[in-house]
């Protein structure tokens, strides 16, 4: 392994002091003066209804109200991958909480009061709240215009049904593969909906200047994508839209794409010259952004006595909600990778994006993989037990390795899955029984493997601008978003490595689409890799300009020059030691005549994965290279079950992830500690619950329980595997989402190990486990 100066060394976050002192600005912290207007939306109380009329008269009489806006003013559709949304409901509403109208007022109080006085008359329609009902013959059709919606070429909707997209994958002959198996296991796994529950609620402020320029300040992972969708939906030139995103108080996918921000942008169009603010309450945050989609997964896997998996059939029915403009791509991602990280000869995947009258589903850390891995890795464990093979050994025998053919025909990237499995198992003393601390407690151990690829369009680009300052410090402007993962620090380290300028002398700015370079979105755990490559290219260009300046001013051969300790040195002239700060802005004096060479060093870099393609046969999924690479890993867990209460106490979690090259090890350890706990929340107690009318029953942090500091495992052991990603910056690939993917099946597997009960529905609450235990007894 190459020894680097900055890359690979744990580096304190460059945004640490700002955040620890309260100086870091978030969207709601920005001041806009007395001219600021406040908006509140009028939300649908029905899950499915036709809008018969909207009476705004009473609301307009409330003192302080400036304007009431309805869908009449904005009739265009929008959406990231499938244009199935309107800014405000048009002729019908499709979930409880959907925006029907909005009030703009001088104060927040007036806006809220008036919003309650907008009278909307509805004709209630039949509704569907789960995939079975939505797929049943004669089910009410949620989107009769599905055929006409704009969409990306890799989506395959079924007009006339509630199937917005059906991703198929066929490899080999599954029936033959199952016949060839000594053991075939079939079961169904259920995963409910979950909330991202970032601590910062969504917020947006938008202003259309009198001169016609739209500025939007938003808490978003996707400034450029927002600008693009605003331009298309509102009919403005990209040139005239500016999206500014200060720090974001947690994303997890919930602030990706465009949700409530487009309401703010649209409202600004109606009150030219005034900034308008929309700030989601916690309840709105739960209901009207994205939720993690529910899943019913039917799995059939066959394996031979020697431990070889022969065939896998995985049918995934996704409860994708009322609008799937983003969520359908979650379904797509799962539909090409729901084999898990295994080499399997015969594969059949069917991933169906199903409209329901629940809030829109969308991206959530893991992008479909967290959801399907619960069933898949549960099933893998059960097969191993059924065959009498150790679950660790069973996974090793089928683990994908670099060069293997993937289910859709492309080649697997280099990866360290075997090492990850071994190290995760070792870290929890796999195979060694641990004594129970009391007679009513059972100890169990679990193991699970995972993989995940970034799900991106084939032309998702990243770019970076870099400039040197008079004192030799550096500013970098990129449009990836610091959502907590430590991206700004990683970018600084990458540039530091090339330029020999320490990360704490590099400032990496949060996005402003007017001045920062392009980034598709901060999603898919791809920015360390994609934007890292752009920053690397910019840093290389800056270095080349610096060395060229020295060559032109002093005559040194460029090949002999290099950067170290913020100086230009030479391999042939030991006396040359030119501090960067002396010439990166003001240039170098040519000794012969007193003229200056060089000038302010500025550079740019740009990156696109030019080798990807989503062109594949819709019936088989064969062809193309839809994924740039996979990040793999494995985790082990030790827990205790109190058999008298069903309560689970997690003792140890060891998680190994293959980062390619760890740019900032402490940041990866942070992703592991955080992802593990987020995963534990989903498997142990979190769950969005709805009444029979589609109304969310627990839209507060009182009733939707997040893990607290008292709920953490005794020990989380982070393990970083490093098998170089050849096209990554210094060999890096992303790890952010991956750390929560294996956690749910890990707990299910350890529970079975502890008490011999297999739970196939999440979450595994104490109540559910206790009932299962007592049922077993009976």
């Amino acid at each position: 392994m190459v020894d680097h100066t900055f890359v690979g060394h744990s580096t304190p976050r460059i945004d640490g002091v700002e955040k620890i002192t309260g100086a870091a600005p978030f969207t709601d912290d920005l001041d806009f003066g007395p001219d600021l207007l406040h908006a509140e939306v009028v939300a649908s109380p029905h899950a499915h209804a036709r809008i018969l009329g909207i009476d705004t008269y009473l609301a307009e009489q409330v003192p302080g109200v400036v304007k009431v806006v309805t869908g009449k003013s904005f009739q265009s559709t929008f959406g990231l991958y499938l244009e199935d949304r309107h800014i405000f409901a048009q002729d019908r509403v499709r979930f409880v909480g959907e925006q029907v109208a909005a009030v703009i007022a001088r104060t927040r109080t007036a806006a809220k009061r008036a919003a309650r006085m907008v009278i909307v008359s509805y004709e209630v329609l039949p509704a569907v709240f789960d995939t079975d009902a939505a797929l049943a013959d004669g089910a009410v059709e949620l989107h009769p215009d599905l055929a006409d919606y704009g969409r990306v070429p890799w989506f395959h909707p079924r007009p006339g049904t509630n199937i917005a997209h059906w991703r198929k994958l066929r490899k080999g002959d599954v029936a033959a593969g199952l016949r060839d198996a000594d053991l075939v296991l079939e079961d169904t796994y259920t995963v409910p909906r979950y909330a991202h529950a970032a601590i910062e609620p969504h917020a947006v402020v938008a202003e259309l200047s009198v001169a016609g320029r739209l500025t939007v300040w938003s808490a978003s992972q996707s400034p450029y994508t927002q600008r693009n969708l605003f331009a298309e939906a509102l009919g403005l030139s990209h040139r005239d839209i500016r999206v500014v995103t200060p720090y974001v108080g947690g994303g997890f996918g919930g602030k990706a794409g465009v949700t409530m921000e487009i309401i703010g942008a649209a409202l600004a169009m109606t009150v030219r010259g005034h900034p308008v603010k929309l700030h989601w309450s916690r309840e709105q945050e739960f209901v009207n952004t994205y939720q993690r989609q529910g899943l019913r997964a039917h799995l059939t896997i066959g394996a031979r006595r020697d431990g070889t998996i022969t065939a896998l059939q995985h049918t995934l029915h996704w409860d994708a909600g009322a609008y799937v403009e983003y969520g359908a791509n979650v379904v797509n991602a799962a539909g090409i990778s729901a084999t898990g990280p295994y080499r399997i000869e015969h594969v059949q995947l069917d991933s169906l994006c199903v409209y329901t009258n629940l809030p829109p589903g969308g991206p959530y850390r893991g992008f479909g993989y967290s959801e399907f891995t619960f069933g898949l890795e549960s099933h893998i464990d059960r097969l191993a037990h059924g065959l009498g093979i150790d679950p660790v050994e069973f996974r090793r025998r089928n683990a994908v390795v670099g060069g293997d053919e993937l289910p859709y025909g492309a080649q697997m990237n280099p990866s360290g899955l075997l090492e990850a499995i071994d190290r995760a198992a070792d870290a929890i003393d796999w195979g060694i029984e641990q004594p129970a601390p009391s007679p009513t407690v059972r100890v169990g151990k679990g193991i699970a493997a995972f993989w995940k690829a970034p799900a991106m369009p084939p032309n998702a680009g990243s770019a970076a601008f870099l400039k040197f300052n008079e004192d030799g410090s550096v500013n970098i402007t990129v449009s990836g978003m610091e959502i907590g993962q430590g991206y700004l620090t990683a970018m600084a380290q990458i540039a530091a490595e090339v330029l020999s300028v320490p990360p704490d002398r590099i400032r990496v700015e949060t996005p402003d689409t007017d001045r920062n370079a392009y980034e598709w979105q901060t999603v898919a755990s791809h920015v360390t890799w994609g934007c890292g490559n752009a920053v690397l290219a910019a840093a290389n260009q800056a270095r080349d300009r610096i060395l060229d300046t020295v060559h032109r001013a002093l005559g040194h051969d460029v090949a002999s020059l290099y950067l170290v300790d913020e100086q230009v040195r030479s391999t042939t002239d030991p006396d040359l030691a030119l501090p960067l700060r002396e010439f990166v802005v003001t240039g170098l004096e040519q000794p012969s005549d007193g003229t200056f060479k060089g000038g302010p060093v500025v550079a740019s870099g740009s990156f696109m994965p030019e080798f990807t393609s989503t062109r594949s046969d819709p019936e088989t999924g064969q062809g193309g290279k839809p994924n740039v690479h996979y990040t793999v890993g494995a985790a082990g867990l030790v827990l205790e079950v109190d058999v008298e209460t069903g309560r689970i106490a997690v003792r140890t979690v060891a998680l190994a992830v293959d980062a390619g090259t760890a740019i900032n090890p402490v940041a990866i350890e942070g992703q592991i500690a955080g992802g593990v706990l987020q995963g534990l929340g989903t498997v142990l107690y979190e769950e969005l619950r709805f009444d029979d009318g589609g109304r969310l029953l627990n839209p507060t942090l009182t009733d939707y329980k997040l893990p607290t500091a008292s709920d953490i495992p005794d020990r989380v052991i982070p393990i970083i595997v490093e098998v170089d990603q050849p096209d990554g910056p210094f060999g890096a690939r992303g790890v952010g989402e991956h750390t929560m993917i294996p956690i749910a099946p890990l707990v299910a597997n350890a529970v079975e190990d502890a008490v011999g009960v297999r739970i196939t529905s999440m979450p595994i609450t104490a109540e559910r486990l206790y009932l299962a235990l007592t049922a077993e007894d009976g």
């Binding site: 304190p12 976050r13 945004d15 640490g16 002091v17 700002e18 955040k19 620890i20 002192t21 309260g22 870091a24 600005p25 978030f26 709601d28 912290d29 001041d31 991202h196 529950a197 970032a198 601590i199 910062e200 609620p201 720090y247 974001v248 108080g249 947690g250 994303g251 997890f252 700030h279 309450s281 916690r282 610091e482 959502i483 907590g484 993962q485 430590g486 402490v666 940041a667 942070g670 592991i672 500690a673 955080g674 992802g675 593990v676 706990l677 987020q678 507060t700 942090l701 009182t702 997040l706 607290t708 500091a709 008292s710 709920d711 953490i712 989380v716």
Partner: protein
């Protein structure tokens, strides 16, 4: 009808006229201009709006502005006037936070803990922190920073032998 309220915020005196139903959180953010207490749930669940009221942590979304007449408030802006505290330094070194939205509230809760219990056990730190939600970090690097700060403070104040 407004109520006259006199209070101290980070050592500075303020006289304000507030409405009976105005929350301390709103008044601090929009009238005093102190932005570190953050809205997260507006019903006392998340702890991101924590401030110190006469040295004790309170959720400013559950306090009416009229209630703080004659009292002293400290926010994280007031802690760092003379540079980072020992606790804040450890938190920076250990990269304790990710998105940072919960950080101001957690810094204040931890500061209060160390004031009343300078050498807390790990479980005491966990209990003290359990009213401040963090969705990013898994809490471990926060707890470690509190324990490290306590140990450092104890080492520097311990009598020489």
């Amino acid at each position: 009808m407004g109520h006259a309220v006199a209070l101290k915020v980070n050592g500075e005196s303020w006289s304000l006229e507030v409405e009976p139903a105005e929350l301390l959180l709103e008044v601090l953010r929009s009238r005093v201009g102190i932005k570190s207490p953050k809205p997260g749930c507006e019903r006392g669940d998340c702890g991101s709006c924590t401030v110190l009221l006469d040295g004790r942590s309170v959720r400013s979304c559950l306090v009416l502005a009229v209630e703080v007449d004659g009292h002293e408030l400290t926010t994280v802006e007031g802690l760092g006037i003379d540079g980072l505290t020992e606790l804040q330094q450890r938190m920076v070194e250990l990269s304790s936070f990710q998105c940072g939205y919960c950080a101001p509230g957690i810094v204040l809760t931890a500061t209060e803990l160390l004031a009343v219990n300078p050498r807390p056990e790990r479980h005491e730190v966990q209990a003290a922190m359990s009213g401040n939600l963090c969705r990013c970090t898994g809490y471990a690097p926060i707890i470690d920073a509190v324990l490290t700060a306590a140990a450092t403070a104890a080492a520097t104040t311990a009598p020489e032998v």
